[in-house]
């Protein structure tokens, strides 16, 4: 398929604006992506025409809202190839999904002396919930190290994986480095050792096709807002056989079948884990975002994003005083770097005045900063709608920063 960049950019109304008189170059997609008109329209249509609570009214609006909400779940289930819609649980996002697993599955399955194995490049959201759990139950958190390119050292993973390992938690694609981890092999090895696997797909899901059955992954989590969808909604995909045995996470409406003061009977999957009125508009927007990704197609998306990253990498390599952080052989969409003589935060401010939006900071991955011995990095992160011109604008702005500090 021909990749029609002009048409794609036209689908995202926010991109067409000036910042301090310069065309906006939005290169902070790892933080959150922009939303196509179709997603914005679906959300406002819901509030304009269908708004009602779900699963409880017999009136027409409630039935429409329920159909739209459950329709989104179906789309998401197909997109990730789950066995059924019961394996798709709506949450607030990746962070809540991981906390749900740690709290529900973790408490029921992790005991003193057990080990949880994560990697050095996890986002804080896949570190802290496990630290909290380990503290509470007396389990141990182990960390798979990485090399200077920002790639996992798989020999160390093999060595750390043992009969005490109950869970392996790994990020599919690192937000700080762009590294794409070999999750198929991680999952197969973990299963051979008797451990369950949680994959953090917050970054990956907008850039790579994910088939949870082919991967045989136990838990896959992601956030809609990094996939052209709205904030405040995400998913936990889990194997039904595992979810069935897990205790509820939060109690309330929707998650029960029967309540008496003596005892409550919990609802079936996925509702057992969806207490309270959900983010209905968010789910609908998420479904539309997935439709958008499918419309462009992963083949085209991956090819285009690879081309753009190669273009940016070539410029970065030729740029005096720039050190790239994260040079994995298998990576996508992220150019993390430090510039000699200019602190990342000053860079962020200076390039912003040129219309270029990047992120400066630790990217919620402080252990990655510690590993590379930098307090922070500047990060440009790309999406399918970015252009070579925008990459040029970034490097022109970096030049300006160097001049200010010369």
């Amino acid at each position: 398929m021909m990749f029609d960049i002009e048409k794609i950019r036209g689908d995202f109304p926010i991109l067409d604006q000036k910042i301090y008189g310069k065309p906006l170059a939005y290169l902070d997609n790892a933080a959150t992506t922009q939303k196509p008109q179709s997603v914005i329209d679906a959300i406002s249509h819901y509030y304009q025409a269908d708004n009602a609570n779900v699963h409880r009214g017999v009136h027409a609006l409630s039935e429409r809202a329920t159909a739209a909400y459950e329709g989104a779940r179906k789309q998401i289930a197909r997109f990730f190839n789950t066995r059924s819609e019961r394996e798709v649980i709506f949450t607030r996002g990746t962070t809540e999904s991981i906390n749900l697993i740690a709290s529900s599955w973790g408490h029921a399955n992790i005991k003193a002396g057990d080990e949880i194995l994560i990697t050095h490049m996890e986002h804080h959201s896949n570190i802290v919930p496990w630290q909290l759990l380990c503290e509470r139950v007396g389990a141990t958190l182990k960390v798979v190290p990485m090399n200077e390119h920002g790639e996992l050292i798989m020999e160390s993973f093999d060595a750390l994986l043992c009969e005490r390992t109950r869970l392996v938690g790994a990020v599919h694609m690192s937000n700080a480095l762009g590294t794409i981890n070999p999750i198929a092999s991680i999952i197969a090895k973990a299963h051979a050792a008797g451990a369950k696997v949680l994959i953090d797909g917050a970054q990956a899901a907008a850039h790579l096709a994910v088939d949870v059955q082919a991967l045989d992954v136990d838990f896959y989590v992601t956030s809609a807002h990094k996939m052209y969808g709205p904030t405040g909604i995400g998913i936990l995909i889990g194997k039904e056989s595992i979810l069935d045995g897990m205790p509820p996470y939060q109690g309330g409406g929707d998650m029960i079948r029967m309540v008496t003061f003596e005892k409550s009977e919990y609802n079936d999957l996925p509702y057992k884990f969806e207490a309270g009125t959900p983010h209905i508009a968010g789910a609908i927007g998420f479904g539309k975002a997935i439709e958008y990704i499918q419309g462009v197609g992963f083949e085209a998306i991956e090819a285009r994003e690879k081309e753009l990253l190669a273009y940016a990498n070539a410029k970065a390599e030729a740029f005096d005083g720039l050190r790239r952080i994260g040079t994995a052989a298998h990576k996508a969409c992220v150019l993390s770097f430090v510039l000699q003589g200019v602190h990342p935060h000053d860079l962020g401010t200076i390039v912003d005045r040129e219309g270029v939006a990047i992120r400066a900071g630790h990217h919620c991955a402080m252990p990655v900063m510690q590993f590379f011995r930098v307090p922070a990095t500047a990060r440009a992160s790309f999406s399918m709608y970015n252009t070579e011109d925008e990459v040029d604008a970034l490097f022109a702005a970096l030049k300006k920063a160097q001049e200010i500090f010369a």
Partner: protein, 151 residues
Amino acid sequence: MFELRDLYQQVIVDHNKSPRNFGKLARFNHEADGYNPLCGDKLHVYLNVNDAGIIEAVSFEGEGCAISVASASLMTEALKGTPVSEFKQKFEGFQHMVTSDLDELPDEAVMGKLAVLSGVREFPSRIKCASLCWHTVKSAVEDSHKVAKTE
């Protein structure tokens, strides 16, 4: 329009490149840590206050962006020789300058060289970079033994 050069004035670039009073004091009787979790800026300040209550010497160590390093450097110059009893007033003067409305010009007679930092008002996310060092000295003066934050 406000230009970047108004923020990154020569004075700031210069103090960032060669910060004054950088390093640990040989003799000090107050110290404190400052940390800005958002940026990862880390600061440690040392003060030597003499029997007459005068800040005889002040220095800092740490790493951070140009605004935070230059601000700390300029602050040490501004505080040297100041009675501790006047610190609160200076602290408030600085806070006011970096948070006041844009059309309010800094009082250069009072602020002296510190006035170059008034440009951060245009960059709300950077105000904390400029004020971290002041909060850190505040906790050193108060011997609060708490890591200073800008909140």
